[in-house]
Each structure stands twice: as C-alpha cells, then as structure tokens.
Subunit: 129 residues, 2 copies
C-alpha cells in the first residue's frame, strides 16, 4: 500500500461516488502528480481486493465508493446524476433471491433505482413522472 493508493482511498472516502477523473484530481491534490493510468490500475486492484466498490450506472462513467460488503443499492437522479445509497430492500445478505433463479447460482444483485432527487424534484415541480 503506497502513498498514492492511500490517497485514493481517502479521496474516495471523502467524496461521494466519484468518477475516475474526480478521484485522479483528488489524489493529485493530496500527493502531487500521479498518472491517470496509475489511478485506474490502483482502483482496479483495490476493487479486486474488496476495499472499494465499483458502481456502473448506464450512461455515466464508472464510480467508486468505500462502502463495501453490505450489498446496498443506489438511487440515481435522472436529472442531475446524483447517487445516493439505499439499504437493501430484502433480507440481509440480500436481494439474492429472484422469484425463479432459472437454475442460476446467484451471488450478487445489482440494483439501481432511477428517479429524481429532492432538489431536482422541487426544481421541475414533478409529482409524477
């Protein structure tokens, strides 16, 4: 674990579902110039090692967060792109039970709720979508 990787962990931890570019900026602020590829490489390593979780909402670049191991889900705002954590709706190791699993051995459920966050909801005056 190097200074650069520590800075990545701190940046991701302080930030809010940051994308790679934002993490790169944060790391450079903390420890000086680090190449973007080093950030990619480290993020992959940290994710493989279970220290970071990767979030990949369609239509937006990959994001990372430090909250791992609880298989929580995400609310994504259609208007501003903001991502908010939300606890798993079912059970505790959870959401791993589709009604019928078609014989699959399921180990993870990726859930993204799409909608409007409170500020955007107020701004657009939306009551229903």
């Amino acid at each position: 674990m190097t200074a650069a990787r520590l800075a990545i962990m701190q940046t991701v931890s302080d930030g809010d579902h940051l994308d790679v570019e934002a993490i790169h900026r944060g790391v450079c602020e903390r420890v000086g110039q680090v190449s973007l590829q080093a950030v990619y490489d480290s993020l992959n390593a940290l994710q493989r090692g279970g220290l970071l979780r990767r979030i990949e909402p369609p239509g937006s670049p990959t994001r990372y967060e430090t909250r791992v191991g609880d298989n929580h889900h995400h609310l994504v705002c259609r208007h501003c792109g903001k991502i908010t954590d939300v606890d798993c709706a079912v059970g505790h190791a959870p959401c791993l039970d589709p009604v019928s699993d078609a014989g699959y051995l399921v180990d993870e459920a990726d859930v993204i709720y799409w909608g409007l966050c409170p500020p955007c909801r107020a701004e657009t005056g939306a009551v229903h979508l």
Copy 2:
C-alpha cells in the same frame, strides 16, 4: 416503419438479448446491406417509442429485447455472459420501493442478478461461489 426497422424488430424478437452488432448482422441477412448507424438510430427510436427495451450490463455492450412494459429483471452469467429473463421479485409494478427512498421520486428499478448459468455451473463444478 420501414423494412429495415421491421427487420430489426424481427431480429431482436427471434434473438436472445442481442447486442447491436448481432442485430446488425441479422438485419443485413433479412433485407440486405444496412449501415450500422442506421441500426443504432433505429434502435434508439424504437426504444424511445417503447417498442424495445435496452439492457446495459456493466462490462458488456448494450443489448435489446422485445419484452417491454413489465419491468422484469435479468440473470447474467459471469462465465459465458448469457442473459435470462426473470420476473420481478416484489409486487406488481414492482421493485419500485427501496426501503427508504431518500425523498427521491422513483420510477424505475434496474436489477441485474449476477451468477452462473446451469451449463457453466456444471462445467466449473461450482456449488458455492
């Protein structure tokens, strides 16, 4: 609705969660040379019009299916990439209820179950992951 677009609908309908390249091939087989961009354009139009549903699993190109309007979910095999439909686990317009919605106005839930399909499960001898 042109011949090309009809061929797209038929190809997607006959296929099984095909990606754009596969749809393009299928369309060309049916009606002769059609440009890839025409396929992209048409798929977007058909999706906007609610005739096709787009599936975007992380790490794989976008796929399309004709089953729309029931917000069902998908099982994705980690080993071979096969995608299988699975009905929604909760309620009927469903899965739109996270435990806490953090004030969001939620209109859609995107759920992907990751695991091993039966053949890959047998092949790898996996009982647990």
